[in-house]
Symmetry: C3
Subunit: 218 residues, 3 copies
């Protein structure tokens, strides 16, 4: 493996861990048992990548060929379950804050990493001349895992209710696509991840508000 392959692999593992944590947390909040929590962790962690691979024509998807992603996701989900199990004594208020913060951060890390990994996968498959495809594939890969997680768990998807979620992913994908020919892929990927993280954290911290329509007839 080249240096860049290693960078991509390490990023993917970190993203898998982050998304598995977010999936496990949602499962715990929905009162699922430990198996349900693991399943949701795995779906969140491998879902985005599976969709990406099918879309760019890597069949069977990589997550089906290489057991490392599913294994990591199961281990992480069990770990999260164990930690939360022994934290039940915490006051509910502190737990709620911990939960919200952990969800936001883990989801943002997964979003950023899978976005740039998606751009990279499009490039590897030879679509470097189609910037739109790279950006769209990056965004679908980034938001896919979290969207599957929320739809399966029956909670309102993050992407529709959180501040500037899809936009952060698009911004990261655009940055990565624009930079890779100048800075090399490794630097472009880091820049993309950082941009997504910064946008999501700022939007979450300052609770950027966007126009919304309140229909009276509801």
């Amino acid at each position: 493996m080249s240096v860049q392959d290693n960078v991509v692999f390490i990023l993917e593992v970190i993203g898998t861990v982050a998304f598995a944590v977010s999936g496990a947390l949602v499962g715990i909040q929905k009162s699922m048992d430990i198996f349900g929590v693991c399943v949701l962790g795995v779906i969140t962690a491998v879902g985005g990548g599976a969709v990406r691979d099918i879309v760019v024509g890597i069949i069977p998807p990589n997550v089906f060929r290489n057991p490392v992603y599913a294994t990591v996701a199961v281990l992480v989900s069990c770990l999260v379950f164990g930690v939360m199990y022994f934290r039940q004594s915490l006051s509910s208020e502190r737990l709620g804050k911990l939960y919200d913060g952990a969800m936001m951060l883990m989801d943002a890390v997964g979003l950023g990493i899978f976005t740039v990994v998606g751009v990279n996968a499009g490039l590897q498959q030879g679509y470097g001349d189609n910037a739109f495809l790279l950006i769209f594939t990056g965004t679908v890969t980034g938001v896919g895992g979290g969207l599957l997680r929320d739809v399966m768990a029956g909670v309102p998807p993050y992407i529709f209710v959180r501040h500037i979620y899809a936009c952060a992913s698009i911004a990261g994908a655009v940055a990565c696509t624009a930079l890779y020919s100048v800075t090399g892929m490794t630097a472009a990927m880091f820049a993309g991840v950082m941009l997504v993280l910064v946008i999501r954290c700022l939007a979450s911290h300052y609770r950027w508000n966007l126009p919304r329509i309140s229909l009276e007839n509801e």
Copy 2:
């Protein structure tokens, strides 16, 4: 591009506009902000086509290669959001009626167009000798976008609760498949779209009722 390619492209753009409007309207009713509304508009507009392309083996799907569909969907979603934003002053009753009528019509137009476009995609990929595949692909393409929209937004899917929804799509796909060798594809597609529209409008206007089981133990 041949004349027929142009017809297909124009139909696809009209269908994209119609489904984007329906997605944006659902997003607005679920009190999403403008970004959420755009995301739901795009998912509804490109979802059916993406599923169709993966199913018939066009990979990456056309919507990933050609930015026109996503761009149109974003613009239309923003426009719908803008119009509704300045219509908040309307009485809630009139708004509710407007909403229901607009949803029904836009959804029916998208359903009809994507159904025949799906049949056409199956033909282009060389499955003309398998009428079942053409009809099934047409139906999946037609109902796919709306199904994704409703599942993501957490509302009961149109396809399960509306009068004769999947049946209208199947009827349109059958008509298009049966006619194309006789009348040519362009006429067959128009006939299919019209049939879907007429069936949906009649079913909606006369509120055709179908047997339903009321379980007492619920």
Copy 3:
């Protein structure tokens, strides 16, 4: 067709019937009309197989090429609707018990059969040297139909709330993968199906409980 092809085909038809029944029952419980019930029956019955085919590279998926699966699913769904329609006179308590039992059994049969059919599809596509892929493909095929059914119908997915659901499928896939080179595929598939059925029935009968976290702040 060889003997083994016949065995696979017969298993698939039985699995299609079982999943169609489970889909129709969920549709009836959600008060869908007869068309909605049929659509949900078809989605449940062909969903898992369609996902499996796309994942292992059989494009278009077999369910799009061969009308027998969708036809069987429609007929079975109508039959279930008809039977339940004339059973409305039953006391609600007896109906509730009948419903729960039928759902559990039909879902378990479908789960078991589609799991081993998924393993077999991976083998047929030449991935016999990758046990992880076989097991993962089997599990995705097994749980896919029921997951689609529950997400579409807006009920909490079986896989997250039922006792040892994904685990039963994984166990069946592992058994089938481990045995086929020793016992031949036919025996391995039967062993896999039986294992899934036994695990699910035991778990359901004895209501095996798994650790679960009750968050106070909900």
